[in-house]
């Protein structure tokens, strides 16, 4: 049986039935990983031995019919900016050297308690800064649908690993679209939950006020199952919300009758690829057929979201990344003369170009004399954006937009034009600025065979409604069930239909 075509929940059910062992599932993932890794480079670290040991432990729970969650025994992996005790955590940067955290991120702890089996740590853009996973110190990741294309970013390794079938779900992080955009480029489902619903403890910060972890998986139902485990108040994160958690999976109904769905006209205008537009509008039609009320409206703040995002994110990043100074852990340059030399040389050698660009930008916008004109203004615009979304959600239950203006670009196309790369984040960054839940669901394929994603956005703490609408869409469509060709197989347009 080709387990890679199963969802995480389907695999979990087989494990609980006993028709597949946890070791068998781990081995299936590891075999697929070994087959794909040489090409895709989705993993930075593979923890094969730990995974097999862990599979034995989880099997005992399964044997005793004490599976702690529907995902018990299902192989998964973490983006490499999420701290895992005793396992190298690199942020895909040279500067972290062989940093091995002596602590687990809260999400890792909770997934561990839910019986997860981690196969390792996933490739990403360095410090999650990038939209293509090409800024990784460990080399780029290839898109499983077309090795000449990027998987998106920054959680490119996570999306590629799920698409290629090495893991059944992955935990990524999303600061401006880093879960949703690679999910769209790789034809899988990715959700950024409401800011504050998933503890950030153990996530190596890029932009603290925007960062949020979430799942990438085959289906919205899989995402709901993962969020049931990882959401919820954490006393170790002061920004984590005291909101009810759990019950997302059991709450899925697939019923969108009379749901009001708004299409912001500003997200369907210039710069949007025609095939992407058509696929997203077709997704709107599917929801309409299931009884939703779809309507276009105007959201003019969209024109400010990219500059606002890059000012705030870069400012916070410039401060968050200051601790990587060669003093305490990670990379330390050789041959420095004094303390300033140690800092300069270590950071010059340790950070890549894109990270340096954002540190410089962030340092600039926080400097005396520029703070009011840039950073303070960006905070004010952020408040305006949040208000505009709040108003939209007085009229609509959900918003539907594209995830990215195009399908995955070719490797090497984006990095020499960073401004163009930043502009391609337009549909996703607003969700982070407003702290909202957003999900990316596969909604079709372009004529070049590359997957297209549609984004559903909900009001703050409306994660259940977002998941339910995505689930409704996936009950009606099978884009999310398609898998890319295995290496050696001839690429087929639209992949293998299941």
């Amino acid at each position: 049986m080709d387990y890679r075509t199963l969802t995480a929940l389907e695999l979990g059910a087989l494990l609980r039935e006993g028709s597949l062992s946890a070791a068998g599932a781990a081995k299936a993932g590891l075999d697929r990983l070994a087959q794909a890794q040489g090409r895709s480079n989705a993993f930075i670290t593979v923890t094969k031995e730990d995974a097999m040991l862990r599979a034995d432990q989880v099997q005992r729970l399964l044997d005793a019919r004490r599976a702690p969650s529907p995902l018990a025994g299902v192989p998964m992996a973490f983006k490499d900016n999420i701290c895992t005790r005793g396992v190298k955590t690199s942020c895909a940067s040279k500067i972290l050297g062989g940093f091995t955290p002596p602590y687990d991120a809260t999400v890792a702890e909770r997934l561990d308690a839910a019986g997860c089996i981690s196969l390792g740590k996933l490739n990403m853009d360095e410090f999650a800064m990038g939209s293509t996973t090409e800024t990784s110190f460990y080399g780029p990741v290839q898109n499983p649908w077309d090795p000449s294309r990027v998987p998106g970013g920054s959680s490119g390794g996570a999306a590629a690993a799920v698409a290629e079938g090495s893991v059944w779900y992955a935990i990524g992080s999303d600061t401006g679209g880093s879960i949703r955009q690679p999910a769209a480029y790789c034809g899988v489902t990715g959700m950024k939950p409401t800011y504050g619903t998933v503890s950030r403890y153990g996530l190596i910060a890029y932009a603290s006020s925007l960062d949020q972890m979430g799942p990438i998986a085959r289906s919205a139902a899989d995402c709901a199952a993962v969020l049931d485990v990882i959401q919820g108040r954490d006393p170790r994160d002061g920004t984590s919300l005291d909101a009810p958690a759990g019950g997302l999976l059991s709450g899925l109904t697939g019923d969108v009758r009379d749901k009001r769905i708004g299409l912001p006209a500003d997200c369907f205008g210039d710069g949007l690829d025609g095939e992407v537009r058509a696929a997203v509008l077709a997704a709107a039609d599917v929801l309409k057929q299931r009884g939703a009320v779809v309507e276009e409206f105007s959201l003019p703040v969209m024109q400010y979201v990219v500059p606002t995002y890059y000012i705030i994110a870069a400012a916070e990043a410039s401060s968050n990344l200051s601790r990587f100074d060669g003093v305490k852990y990670g990379w330390r340059a050789q041959g420095y003369e004094d303390l300033t030399g140690l800092y300069n040389k270590t950071r010059t050698e340790g950070f890549g170009a894109e990270v340096k660009r954002r540190i410089l930008l962030g340092t600039f916008v926080l400097s005396t004399g520029y703070y009011d004109a840039y950073y303070k203004k960006a905070l004010q615009v952020k408040a305006l954006i949040k208000r505009a979304f709040d108003e939209a959600f007085r009229r609509y239950d959900l918003l539907l937009t594209p995830v990215a203006p195009t399908t995955a670009p070719k490797l090497g196309e984006s990095l020499n034009d960073p401004l163009q790369m930043y502009l391609s984040d337009i549909y996703t960054v607003s969700v982070n600025l407003a702290g909202l839940p957003g999900i990316s669901v596969p909604c079709g394929f372009a004529s070049d065979g590359m997957p297209i994603g549609a984004q559903l956005i909900g009001p703050a703490l409306g994660d259940a409604a977002v998941l339910d609408a995505a689930h409704a869409f996936q009950l009606e469509t099978d884009h999310h069930k398609r898998t890319p060709p295995l290496p050696g197989q001839a690429a087929q347009k639209g992949g293998d239909a299941q």
Partner: protein, 477 residues
């Protein structure tokens, strides 16, 4: 020309919470290097600060006691700079919305009463400590102090003399000790003070260029540095030079200040709101609760001691200057010792021992019960005052049992007129000249005879008994 010195203070006070400001590590002083720290206070990647609510409470209590307005919605900001004692490369502090602002402290000096305005009071975390080892030529970082909670109290430039500064600091220390929010030990760094000083021609409206002095480790150093720096600035200006805005370091041994860094080299700290800690919203009920918890401060206790015990104002000021002494006083009085006698002992012997031993009153083990017992023994005539002082000095350090000590060393006062009489006969026999002198009306001779008897009895006799017996015998003679 007459010059006026203008001074403002920035005082850092370490709060006496059990744990650090953003993690659960202990704030205990000392400890082997890097044993009081965790991934959070050492700024490990991915860790997050979570505010210790006791820090907020202590800061608000301090602000209320300093008559400040409390910011109902305050937040933290990041102060960014690179230094190896600062593991996150930013300090979590408050710039834009400090917890308290616009307060006032009344002080009194020889020059009279005055009000010092408080500009603001904010919360922040302490940094670690770098220790240079010249033997191996390496600098080592100890992060035990990282994340120890501090409040910084910034005054307006309202001081005109070192006396005023010291009076303010004494008042501040007393207030914070009464509140129990800090132990304010300068030698352990739990109270640190930076002095901003400028001079201007008396009566000039504008402020002169100021310097900031650091490394002031005692009230004495503060007073001396102020005198030195004011003189240095005046001399420069009188020589036609200008004062450079800079940070200067006080050198205790050289009794002088030295330039550390000038304004031109000042860092841009790139402050911005701390995104990891949500803004703090303080409710009316919360503030009411803290207000209700404010303890009786030094001034209130002074008034009460004068009213209830009839103590002189001077005594009450001395006793209440430190909360530990005032508490000591109250406990001794509660055990039945007369207030004025307790006060005399505290101002004399107790403070003498503390200063001789370089001890803070709060660290004293000598108990109010022991003092009350000593006073009782003197009152009962079982010890004379001089012997009582000797007993006090002997038991002070370890708070030994007073009665046991007196007994063990046979110090109980001789009140036995018979024994005194026998000794008197011996003294008379040995000093016939003195008896003649006494009879010739020389009162001095009586004093000599009393002294001789006391000496024979090793000072343990009750002087009143000795006098009475001697008079009687001499009259009979």
């Amino acid at each position: 020309m007459t010059w006026e010195t203008v001074i403002g203070l920035e005082t850092h006070v370490e709060l006496a919470t059990a744990t650090k400001i953003f993690c659960g590590c202990t704030t205990e002083f000392g400890g082997d290097p890097n044993t009081h720290c965790c991934p959070v206070c050492t700024g490990m990647p991915g860790t997050l600060p979570v505010l210790n609510e006791a820090v907020l409470e202590f800061a608000v209590k301090a602000g209320l006691a300093l008559n400040c307005a409390v910011t109902r919605c305050c937040r933290f900001d990041r102060k960014n700079y690179f230094y190896p004692d600062l593991p996150k490369a930013y300090q979590i502090s408050q710039l834009y919305l400090p917890i308290c602002h616009d307060g006032a402290v009344d002080i009194r000096t020889a020059a009279g009463a005055k009000t010092i305005r408080i500009h603001e009071l904010h919360m922040e975390e302490d940094a670690g400590k770098l220790v240079h080892d010249p033997w191996i030529d390496q600098t080592r970082a100890d992060y035990n102090r990282c994340g120890v909670p501090l409040i910084e109290i910034v005054t307006e430039p309202d001081f005109r003399s070192a006396d005023e500064v010291v009076a303010y600091l004494e008042k501040l220390r007393s207030t914070l000790q009464y509140l129990g929010v800090s132990d304010c030990k300068m030698q352990e760094g739990s109270l640190r003070c930076d002095v901003n000083l400028s001079v201007r021609p008396a009566g000039a409206p504008a402020l002169g260029t100021r310097t900031e002095m650091k490394n002031l480790n005692s009230f004495k150093a503060i007073a001396r540095s102020i005198q030195y720096e004011a003189r240095r600035q005046i001399e420069r200006l009188e020589d036609g030079k200008r004062v450079v805005q800079e940070t200067r370091r006080w050198d205790e041994n050289k009794d002088a200040t030295f330039a550390m860094r000038s304004k031109e080299n000042a860092q841009d700290y790139r402050y911005f709101p701390e995104p990891d800690i949500p803004p703090l919203e303080l409710s009316e009920a919360y503030l009411d609760r803290l207000k209700a918890q404010q303890p009786e401060m030094a001034e209130a206790r002074m008034a009460r001691y004068q009213a209830d015990y009839g103590l002189p104002a001077y005594d009450t000021q001395m006793i209440t200057a430190q909360k530990a002494l005032a508490d000591f006083f109250e406990r001794a009085v509660a055990l039945g010792a007369p207030a004025k006698q307790v006060s005399n002992w505290i101002m004399g012997e107790v403070m003498g021992q503390l200063s001789a031993r370089g001890l803070e009153a709060r660290d004293m083990v000598f108990s109010p019960a022991a003092l009350a017992r000593l006073i009782a023994l003197v009152q009962e005539g079982k010890l004379n005052r001089n012997t009582a002082v000797k007993v006090f000095e002997a038991v002070f350090e370890h708070d030994e049992d007073v009665d046991a000590y007196v007994q063990k060393h046979g110090l109980e006062q001789v009140s036995d007129a018979g024994l005194v009489g026998c000794v008197a006969e011996e003294v008379f026999a040995a000093n016939p000249k003195s008896i003649e002198d006494y009879k010739a009306g020389k009162e001095k001779a009586f004093g000599f005879l009393v002294g001789q008897v006391m000496r024979q009895l090793k000072g343990q006799a009750d002087p009143a008994v000795v006098r009475r017996v001697l008079r009687m015998k001499l009259e009979q003679n």
